[in-house]
Amino acid sequence: MLETLFLMGQGFINALSPMNLLFAAAGTAIGIVIGCLPGLSAAMGVALLLPMTFTMAPETGLIVLGAIYCGAIFGGSISAILIHTPGTPASAATAIEGYQLTLRGKAGKALAVACFSSFCGGLLSCISLYFFAPLLAQLAMKFGSPEYFWLSVFGLTIIAGVSSKSMVKGLMSGAFGLLLSTIGMDPIEGAKRFMFGQASLYEGINTTCALIGLFSMSQVLILAETKIKERAKAAKFTDKIALTGSEIKRLTPTILRSWVIGNLIGILPGAGASIACFMGYNAARQFSKHKEEFGHGSIEGVAGPEAANNAVTGGSLIPMLTLGIPGESVTAVLMGGLIIQGLQPGPELFTRYAPMTYTFFAGFVLVQFFMLGIGLLGCRGFAQISRLSDAILIPSVAVLCVVGSFAIHKNFTDVVIMMIFGIIGYMVRKFGLNPAAIVLALILGPIGEKGLRRSLVLSGGSPAILFSTPVCWVLIGLCVFGILSPIFMNRVEQKSLEQAGGGDIVAPMED
């Protein structure tokens, strides 16, 4: 206990270094810009800026990525409120009441509520991050090779079901990614596999290049295929971006409820901020003492989804950091960032690398304060940025994809791999397959393969070892849950969407 408190304190001291503060602020601002642009998503932003964190200390790099994540989730609300177009799907529910407030000349109030609720939701989610993450990590310490095999299978079953309309297609995407993960050196025999004569594929497909291609370059192609739309002009507002004491008092129960919802959704694999925002909105409407305001511009209707979607951020980091199981696309990309820094998600992050992990946690707390400050002060400026045309985004993002993938090993092959994955990502998204499942399979594939083959070596080839411990059976049960949970989650999302009446709001893209 004392040791944990010491680590927490040490984490804050490290996170408060000028360099970390500067990068946290910059990351938050970049995240907000990415979030408020309807053509870009949080996962894409994190993937695009991943290479910029290579030369940073691991904790600083993670703080930057966390800041972009939080900033982007909040940033989506700016365009949702001002131009009725959510910057990210996580803000789709915010547009319902937020835009109504804008029409009533209260855009400043709506932005202040969004900013304050996002801050509270994010900050409260840090509590569960501090509390649950070490507990889960202790459990993971008992894992051996068979358990790691099942854990990777569990991770795949979860992500394969997310974002795909068809579960079988999601699982096919995962299996396709697993096959791609076999490219490179065999981890046990040392034999070269499927390298197509390319020495640069010796260590397998570079995950970062694949991430940039699948999430960012594919988005360039998606934007390029249709007519460039003129964005609506952001509403000009003259009211103050501030909240009164009585308004804060009124919003507190809504924020607390949404925190619980968002956190649970975040921890639950397979669910993300886009589900949490509608659940937060519904809960706010259900328990509100001013139900008549809903549909005409309710501040609780803005606070509910915004607190919920930001509460997801801390919660979703828990399974990713402790078990290596990212529950959604953004955490899958963040996990890629962690691995690139030479760190393996799991118990080691809370033992050997505990100072780094707690510095990241402290940085994550500070990011929430930056989000509040930058959000409140820069709302008017970000509102103008949200009008940036897709025509400008197309070549700009393409250039950033190229330079980002080149910067990894400073070789041109990585750029070609990124481009190939960009085209694969485009086709995959067009034909209803799941890019997040492919990325996760590329990350989890080698872990699962090592776990399986080491287990079989230990048992002399008998697969019985994979069913030999109670933890294995628990994980098998979770795999079954992982396969079935998307069916349940889809129903919850559909029901929340219908109840919120948000079907007319066009979510710009998947998370």
Partner: protein, 148 residues
């Protein structure tokens, strides 16, 4: 059932066949795991084929192309894709910065962006990359074969 799904299924079977043929050259010990994954992918694809057959019987067969490519502008899409591929080739020949300026200006002119926005966007991207990658990260960006 959508006809476009036949393409998805064909692609998955094709990938499995390609990897299976390539796996024939591997040592027997190194063959097992990739072949296990191939078997899983074939099984899932076959399951999807069965679902497609049931869907075809129940709801009939639709093209799917109109839904997937609604609003698709082939000229715009393929021109931009070609520009990006030419950009990569040019980057190899004349270096990063020159090719980036050409891509930005070419692409923005093609998309009919006002001239002042072209200048500002190009300068902003070049400035951002120079500051972040060349100065901050110290990445030596390609100078191109012509300038080596």
């Amino acid at each position: 059932m959508k006809k476009t799904d036949i393409g998805v299924v064909g692609f998955m079977y094709g990938v499995c066949i390609l990897f299976f043929v390539l796996s024939l050259d591997l040592k027997p010990e190194a063959q097992t795991y990739p072949r296990f994954i191939m078997a899983v992918l074939v099984a899932l694809t076959t399951l999807y084929v069965i679902q497609m057959i049931f869907a075809a019987r129940r709801y009939g067969v639709t093209s799917g192309m109109e839904e997937i490519f609604a609003g698709f502008l082939p000229k715009q899409f393929f021109c931009i894709l070609a520009m990006i591929i030419v950009y990569l080739i040019l980057m190899y020949l004349v270096g990063f910065y020159i090719s980036t300026v050409l891509l930005m200006v070419g692409c923005l002119l093609f998309l009919r962006v006002p001239k002042w926005q072209i200048i500002v966007s190009t300068l902003a991207i070049i400035g951002l990359i120079y500051g972040a990658f060349t100065l901050f990260l110290g990445v030596k960006l390609p100078v191109g074969l012509l300038f080596k």
